[in-house]
Symmetry: C2
Subunit: 430 residues, 2 copies
């Protein structure tokens, strides 16, 4: 097949006609497909069912230090859960606070603490300083951007490159003292699926921000989410690099087991330097007595350590690989020949990013919707929901069943081709 | 025995000498007692152990509406948990959001939402308005006061009377537009153990605050915590009164199962009018996907409804009654004759409040500490930790074992008498 950009207007018109007919066939099928949600499916959740049997009525609820997990106390989490989460975050146990069920909530609270009280090194609550800015590598995670937008901060876009955020831009931008923080999903980034290179991590660790209370929000949500066990991406340890650089306070680390055990019923953690942990404990101590330590104990006893988590994640990977492959195979087979799109093949995480021709993402998503398929809104992965090139589409292949995914991927390819062919035809006519 | 205030200086001196000798005996016993903590003890927690067997590996995790509780979604909580918590709060299920594990956290977040965004009817985030004030009926719950102090608000003391806060004062104070809220523990108030009268609830419902976004923070933490089943205090339904008064938005309602099932591993809820619930959902939606719905399902299936909760609370009451009686009997026997203290006999809740002679609370607590017993710091139940009359002591008899409580209560009586006798002797000499 001829790539669309090499086609004559007549060929394009014919292609649009053919695609339209196929599209109408899909429309008449009354499909209900959904590739929008970065959610585990039921079979993935079932893998963690044995965890529910760990704390039976007859068993004891004492932590390894003899503290009753069913009672008030231990703001920082139970020791065995701190150790488990520290291993995942590659931090020391006393550098970790195990909180509630949601790392997003911890991130929100940490932004809130900055807004109301600031961070060590700064001048107090950011709200007193007026306009606050946060760096948003994009495409990125819409809920990150939304948190800082909600606090009234200005979202500053930074391009994501193949090895992480555009560090030349970041190094320039942090010279502005209004820039108080930066969002990062360093491993299997949402939505690109790439992992920050060693060079990017080192440059981040050596940033010299004008704001003394600047913080990198290091959301390591996919730390253990390799699709091919043993062949996953390696992420350089940011904390180790920060310590080398003499800047241990410059980042806050987040993760959760929401995509390991149960989504929303797992445990979440925040980590950082001694100064940051002391600061967070001081402020968290005013808002809560502790997270749910019974659930912490359940997780710690079931997974035991990172090796236990990795063994569990191998089972998840076995369920997820066919889904990712189904999408990637379809993209390769049905979309590559048209030459109007590109995508990554992530080695882990929850998403496949698709870039269509500039100006065609919204139209593609709209066409999919017309045919009964929900995708994440085009632009959602950019600050303020606006993709300046209108090209990025986030594919979330985890939740749907395999046969649905195959149909969905074919429909997506068809819609992308139709949107791009229409656009090229328009341009040719103009 | 002669009441201290009727004693001559010589009699007082003799009494101090005798008490001192007894005190030294206690000191030599090497006691380690703790009546400071409003915590359940292990036997109380054991009552909820069968709940751990409710969600076994083989059972299904679907809510009654077929939603998988193990997956993301349902910010407002699962329907059966909303119904349960609504019944406890005496609200409609759609007036309730079931959140995480901590009602304190929900209260903190609701204050935070006020600080950053304000509430419907107001002009946006309170931080833009400068000095914000909160009414603090006292003695009251130190963690309430601490939350608003942490946000930089001015804490305005309001006297607690036998039937609730001094409403004449409250009605005056809310004429100040800087007064944005008021803390209330309406039933078995912490620490007084009293329940707001119908008249107080009605006057609260009919307040006309100058601030259009004024909110009553109605922390119904002890809604179902009667010591004598069937003979508990009745609290008038504030929401019903607010609706009658045409002011349904003026209160936010809080409760949790921390003192029903497991402390810190229960479920918490916030309730309010349709406008408030919509507002909270909008803001909560930016910070979290949902609370832990597996734990919500566990609680809903185990307790089923309020009747199930009440049956459970009867078992707790059977454990708590002897502890409360031990303290009250000791106070009556050992402290009443001296005529230097007064106390309430609460019909529920977690605390017994003791008022000693003005200027003697700190000294009493210090003496107890010297003899090996921890009490809540004198003054802790007042804004900024300062009891203007230095007389209130909060006794928390739930956590210690019964025999410890008997010893502790005797020691407390001794220390209170010693502190008061010393004070009177000083005054007599001066």
């Amino acid at each position: 097949m001829t790539a669309y950009q090499q086609m004559t207007p007549a060929q394009l018109a014919q292609e649009v006609k053919v695609l339209r007919e196929k599209f109408d066939e899909y429309k008449n099928m009354g499909l209900k497909l959904d590739l929008s949600r970065g959610k585990p499916d039921g079979s993935q959740l079932d893998l963690a069912l044995p965890m529910m049997g760990v704390l039976k009525e007859t068993q004891d609820f004492m932590t390894e230090t003899g503290f009753d997990s069913r009672n008030y106390g231990l703001l920082e989490g139970i020791p065995e859960a701190r150790r488990l989460m520290a291993e995942i975050l590659e931090l020391e146990p006393d550098e970790v606070i195990v909180g509630g069920n949601s790392s997003l909530n911890l991130m929100h609270d940490c932004v809130g603490i900055g807004f109301v009280h600031g961070y060590p090194g700064g001048k107090g609550g950011w709200y007193k300083e007026g306009n606050i800015k946060f760096l948003c590598p994009c495409p990125g995670y819409d809920r990150h951007f939304a948190v800082t937008q909600h606090f009234g901060f200005e979202l500053v876009s930074v391009d994501m490159k193949e090895d992480g955020p555009d560090m030349d831009a970041v190094e320039e931008l942090v010279k502005d003292p209004a820039v108080k923080g930066m969002w990062c999903v360093p491993k299997y980034q949402n939505p690109l699926g790439i992992t920050f290179s060693d060079d990017v991590v080192r440059r981040l660790a050596n940033l010299s921000p004008a704001a003394p209370d600047f913080r990198i929000f290091w959301d390591n949500a996919y730390a253990v989410h390799d699709l091919e066990p043993g062949k996953g991406d390696k992420l350089l340890n940011l904390m180790a690099e920060l310590k080398k650089a003499g800047k241990p306070d410059m980042a806050l680390f987040f993760t959760s087991t929401s995509k390991i055990s149960f989504a929303g019923a797992g445990i979440a953690a925040v980590g950082g330097s001694a100064a940051n942990v002391a600061w967070l404990k001081k402020h968290f101590g005013l808002q809560v007595i502790s997270g749910d330590k019974v659930n912490q104990l359940r997780h710690a006893r079931y997974f035991k350590n990172k090796a236990g988590v990795m063994a569990h994640m191998e089972k998840q990977a076995a369920l997820l690989r066919p889904k990712f492959e189904a999408v990637l195979d379809t993209l390769e087979r049905e979309l590559a020949p048209a030459g109007v799109a590109s995508w990554n093949k992530p080695r882990g995480g929850y998403f496949i990013p698709l870039d269509v021709m500039d100006g065609c993402a919204k139209r593609t998503v709209a066409l999919c919707k017309e045919a009964g398929m929900v995708l994440t809104g085009a632009g959602a992965t950019f600050p303020y929901g606006v993709d300046p090139r209108d090209r990025n589409i986030r594919i979330a292949p985890t939740y749907a069943k395999l046969d649905e995914i195959k149909t969905a991927a074919s429909l997506l390819c068809l819609c992308a081709k139709l949107a791009c062919a229409e656009k090229l035809l328009e341009q040719a006519k103009a």
